[in-house]
């Protein structure tokens, strides 16, 4: 469904007001505007296409069902990126808790328990989908982004891929402005070092 021409010319706050008054076209316009940026951010955060689709869907469903709680004096982009980032970070934290150590659980007391809780390297076969994902995120830069700490990753993606100003990033990530600047600088330094061999 294509959004009417008039809606496309409106600013986010006006589209949100239309959506609140019951216009499905306005909801679809918000989706059209933010679908790719939100999906890309989450995909680069979690590096799994299927999971990114689920988390992006969760983000939009949360945001669009809670439009009444959105305050128009703030940027809509900050609000929805904040929800997306929280959704991705929550998932990464949960995954970290559920991840077993390569050497086995630190709580395992006996050698058998250690062996039972250790990850089996090579047990997982690469599927055709994995190959597509590897191709999509396969560039050296994508690999370098993937190796960053999640907080650095979110900062650098919002700054240099989404082009958000520092103040907005601080608002999205609930971090002090100075911390955001430090994270971005450190992330850029890490990327510079990771990609150094490409320039040589």
């Amino acid at each position: 469904m294509t959004a009417p021409q008039g809606i496309q010319a409106l600013v986010d706050q006006e589209v949100v007001a239309l959506a609140r008054s019951g216009s499905e076209a306005a909801y679809r316009e918000l989706l059209r505007r933010y679908e790719r940026p939100i999906f890309s951010l989450i995909f680069r955060m979690v590096r799994d296409r299927e999971l990114s689709e689920d988390l992006s869907q969760e983000t939009f469903v949360k945001a669009l069902n809670a439009l009444d709680s959105y305050r128009p004096e703030f940027k809509f982009s900050s609000w929805i990126f904040k929800i997306a980032n929280n959704t991705a970070i929550d998932h990464l934290r949960r995954r970290e808790l559920n991840t077993l150590s390569l050497e086995g659980s630190p709580h395992a007391a006996t050698p058998e328990a250690i062996e039972a809780t250790a990850l089996q390297i090579g047990a997982r076969q690469e599927t055709p989908l994995d190959t597509v994902e590897a191709k999509e995120l396969g560039g050296q830069i994508e690999a370098a982004i993937g190796a960053l700490r999640p907080e650095y990753r979110a900062c650098i993606l919002l700054r240099h891929v989404e082009g958000r100003p520092y103040e907005e990033i601080a608002e999205i990530l609930d971090l002090p402005l100075g911390t955001v600047k430090t994270y971005i600088h450190r992330a850029r330094n890490e990327l510079r070092e990771s990609l150094g061999h490409l320039r040589e």
Binding site: G22, L31, S52, S56, V61, I184
Partner: protein, 201 residues
């Protein structure tokens, strides 16, 4: 006499990535190969990041999201808005709305206060009402039973299910009718399987 300028700080690198250098920064960059190289590398990282594409979430993404979103009903919202507008339109209507609200809140408050002050009376009234209701229930039940037993068909029906085999046969027939009725109802209420929007979501 001023000493040699310090190397560029992270903040200065950030501002240089966004804009032109100040005269002092320009002078430093002309002299300092290390800072020029560092700035060049940061610029290369930024331009690589800025060139990264956005990914597509898939053709059905928007439909799948919209399937889970509750879009407000414009008719209900318009009705609410009209009612609110009318209620707040004139001073008289506002006064009326306010007096109704005050009366409602006042009655509820008075009711709560009265109930808390007369707990025994409320509980004795509750017991009396409960007793009366039970008595009326049994009277109604006895009346209905007497009414049924006085019907001309009652004796015939009683003798028809008097024998255990006949009782079993009648019960089986009733059960069969019940099951057939249930199946018919389920068929009538089934959701159509074809042409339903977002069925795959």
């Amino acid at each position: 006499m001023t000493g040699p300028r310090q190397h560029l700080t992270p903040d200065e690198i950030d501002s240089l990535l966004a804009g032109e250098p100040t005269p002092s920064q320009f002078e430093h960059l002309t002299d300092c190969a290390e800072c020029t190289l560092l700035l060049g590398q940061h610029r290369a990282v930024v331009s690589t990041l800025e060139a990264l594409p956005h990914f597509d979430a898939g053709d059905e993404f928007a439909d799948q999201v919209m399937f889970q979103v509750a879009v407000p009903d414009p008719f209900a919202m318009r009705s609410m808005a009209t009612a609110r507008r009318r209620l707040l339109e004139t001073g008289r209507s506002r006064a009326f709305a306010a007096s109704v609200a005050v009366a409602l809140v006042g009655m509820m408050t008075a009711s709560i206060i009265w109930t808390s002050l007369n707990r025994e009376l409320v509980s004795s009234a509750g017991s009396w009402l409960g007793g009366e209701a039970t008595q009326w229930f049994w009277v109604a039940l006895r009346g209905a039973f007497a009414n049924v037993t006085e019907q001309p068909w009652f004796d015939a029906a009683r003798s028809a299910i008097g024998a255990p085999m006949r009782l079993a046969a009648v019960s089986a027939c009733v059960m069969l009718l019940y099951v057939v009725g249930l199946m018919a109802l389920r068929r009538l209420m089934a959701i159509p399987s074809e042409g339903a929007a977002h069925a795959g979501a």
